[in-house]
């Protein structure tokens, strides 16, 4: 094999009591698409942050093209030709997409007063955008953009680096959907033919076989395996097993045995202009209802309308058979509805606060007694029990949420939902960025919840919706596509969501 473009040997990193990386050995060759796998908290993002100069390693060496490098700042890494899209890209919310892409690299000239060549920038951005077919208005402020659009801006920002040798993508597809994913893969193949190496992090294991040449598996802060995809295919190794270090069973729990109970949530003719129209649905106790919809199909708005965060323009919502006017999330929570929002970092968590603060937040009444005083002992016990139930790792109630890996942040939101003791749960994109082991646990949780509650799963991951739900519908451009008979097959569901048609 050719000499690696990038190698790391014996790299370690500690965060306070957590040894995030211990002696990582890693390399990637020129023009190689290399997948980086591992369960939540395995240390993938930490490693990437070291490669991109965001944090500094405690020990070990890095080399680029055979020469040892020391990255003290992100600029150092970029100068060495390493461009990175972080797991949670930091963009400037009130600047346009275009300005974000070229932030800090606006001019060829140096100095404070070098002129900015706007027309040139726009042309360059359009050229980049043309290769990456995301419908995107780059003049829009990033703060107004959806998660997908922000991800696209971040990718364009990385690609705007001159002399790029290695492109690192930390879970780009977790927010992208089928269509954009295909675009991204095409783009990756293009870059690869130009000799650019790509390090690619994902929890969608089938993507590894679709796009990667080779992969490394991280477990508990070390690299436990590295092999080529061809090798893996031949020897039929299970990626999930490598990641978890143990055999895995089915990801999806068995479907409901008993028939569903009474309807807890009924939507009738629900609509909001330009977002969704005429949604009539029932969610019943004892079953999981799955709604499959691509980004932009109105799923997110629908979930927020049911949760009282957006007003319904028409139609009615009935809870326990009684019509309710949900004017705020408070009203929805009081009616027994809990939303696990799609954008957990901005909608679900107080990031600088620990689990002990976040878990009770949606049901402060349960956490307090006379004089509104917190019952701190009980709260701690409850929080401990719930974080154990969702398998939070590390099982700390006092670490700020920002100190958890992406998947574990989702588990904190889940624990918060369990604490609220609702009887209608709406999950939006519940397993974005969650590893396969934890995903199985979350699905099992949903199944357990569905025994006494109604569960609605809204997701742009067709396999997820089909795998976990007892009954599925699709949302296409704001319209509901429901199956004629009992339910959709996986392929019919996909068709319904993407094309808006029911197969004959």
């Amino acid at each position: 094999m050719a000499t690696p473009v990038l190698t790391a040997s014996d790299v370690s990193k500690r965060f306070g009591p957590v040894q995030a990386l211990r002696g990582v050995d890693f390399h990637v060759g020129p023009g190689e698409v290399h997948a980086l796998l591992g369960i939540n908290g395995a240390g993938k993002s930490t490693f990437i942050k070291i490669l991109s100069g965001i944090i500094q390693k405690d020990g070990g060496t890095l080399t680029v093209a055979g020469r040892e490098v020391h990255f003290r700042t992100p600029e150092d890494a970029i100068r060495a030709g390493i461009a990175t899209v972080q797991q949670h890209p930091e963009l400037v919310a009130d600047m346009s997409g275009l300005d974000n892409i070229f932030l800090g690299r606006e001019t060829a000239g140096r100095g404070l007063f070098a002129r900015i060549d706007r027309a040139g920038l726009e042309a360059r951005a359009e050229a980049l955008l043309a290769r990456f077919a995301v419908p995107l208005d780059l003049r829009q402020e990033v703060g107004q953009m959806s998660a997908v659009e922000r991800e696209a801006v971040a990718i364009l920002q990385a690609l705007a680096v001159d002399g790029i040798r290695v492109l690192i993508l930390d879970e780009p597809t977790s927010t992208l959907t089928e269509v954009e994913r295909e675009d991204l893969f095409a783009l990756m193949n293009q870059l690869k033919t130009r000799g650019i190496s790509i390090i690619y992090i994902t929890h969608q294991l089938e993507e590894v076989f679709a796009i990667a040449d080779s992969f490394s598996v991280f477990r508990a802060g070390t690299c436990v395996a590295r092999m080529s995809v061809a090798e893996a295919r031949e020897s039929r190794v299970s990626l999930a097993e490598l990641m978890l270090g143990e055999a895995v069973g089915d990801v999806f729990p068995p479907k409901a045995g008993a028939p569903a109970g009474e309807a807890l949530l009924e939507l009738e003719g629900l609509g909001r202009p330009h977002e969704f129209t005429d949604i009539t649905l029932q969610a019943r106790r004892g079953e999981i209802l799955g709604i499959f919809g691509l980004v932009g199909s109105g799923c997110d708005e629908l979930s927020k309308t049911i949760f009282g965060a957006l007003p319904a323009a028409r139609g009615t919502i009935r809870v326990h058979g009684r019509e309710v006017a949900l004017r705020s999330p408070r009203a929805a929570l009081d009616a027994g509805i809990f939303l696990v929002p799609g954008d957990r970092r901005s909608e679900g968590l107080a990031l600088s606060r620990p689990a002990l603060f976040n878990v009770p937040l949606a049901n402060l009444r349960r956490a307090s007694g006379g004089f509104w005083a917190l019952r701190r002992g009980r709260l701690r016990r409850d929080a401990q029990e719930l974080t154990r139930q969702v398998a939070l790792h590390p099982p700390s109630l006092t670490t700020p949420a920002s100190g958890f890996s992406g998947g574990n942040q989702q588990k904190i939101v889940l624990a918060k939902g369990l604490y609220s003791q609702a009887d209608i749960y709406i999950f939006v994109e519940p397993t974005v960025g969650v590893d396969i082991g934890a995903r199985a646990k979350i699905y099992a949780q949903m199944r357990a919840l569905a025994r006494t509650a109604a569960v609605v799963v809204i997701s742009s991951d067709c396999d997820e919706v089909h795998g976990v739900a007892d009954r599925t519908v699709a949302l296409h451009k704001g319209r509901l596509v429901a199956p004629a008979a009992r339910g959709f097959s996986r392929d019919d569901l996909l068709m319904a969501g993407i094309m808006g048609e029911v197969a004959a």
Binding site: F307, F357, T398
Partner: protein, 334 residues
Amino acid sequence: MSRLNDHFRGAARVLGFVALVLGVGAVFALIEPRFLSHASLNGIARHMAANGLAALGLTFVVIVRKFDLSIAGIAAFAAMSMGALIAAGLPLWAAIMGGLALGAVLGAVSGIAISYFELPDIVTTIAVGSICGGLAFLYTGGRSIFQNFFQSGITDLNDARLLGLGVSLWILLAVYAAAWFVMSRTRTGMAFYATGENPIAAHFSGIATRRFVALAYVLCALCTVLAVLLILAESGNAETNKGANLMMPAYAGVFLGAAVMGGTSVVATFGGILLITMLLDGFALMGVPYYYSDGVVSLILLGGVIAFSDSLREWITGLGLLRPRAARKSENRA
């Protein structure tokens, strides 16, 4: 284990604060022995009471991640209003109630404008503050009000003692105790903090975030009125510049406390304002002219924020390579 660790870290910060206060006190006592005199300590307690109340009010606003620059204006308007009420012959309690009611209204105006109408906090409070600063001249055109002050008993708030401590200090302690309980032991406190940390997530958790932002401004204005009331009690008259020296120490106390304690809280503000008041009084005693004091306080604030910032601490530990070595050792043991 991690729980013990947290307690330990919290205790370490409090101890650090106590050490800082004692250290500053010792330095002043060495330079100027009068610092420890009865009169000086009494003065610190009185100034602490007024500064502390203003800083507590600001604490609520800072917790919901906003600013309030109307403190001086509201203080001036409330001072003259209470003075006018006293001069008109109303009993003291009625004058105080009048002042508090005025404060509540003014705080509500800013609060509602900022939370429900989404006006920018800094501009709004500067405007409200300036308007109040002007309205303070309404009653006398700027002349001092002192009629009836002595008879009204307001000076007792300054002079009277209870169990050896001044009444103003008791007021401070009572208000702080109540605020501490609400902010760190009740669900109301959690709602305040959640609103500041992430208003969207708080809203999605069913918390009426706008109400809490508005409430923070009302509480801030109420505390400001109490603070200026103590200043009136000390001076025995009402003047339009009575609140002028409340704002800077309040900000310094809140942010210095937050820097040392690792977050904004009632306890942090208490420590911060204690330190700031000691410094201000100490410098005054040493003859540093008052017009330098704001500058000195700002300098100390800046120094404190830098000294306790995380990135600087990391930089220093990085220099000594203390942490990696310790880390390696504990790893070997594991």
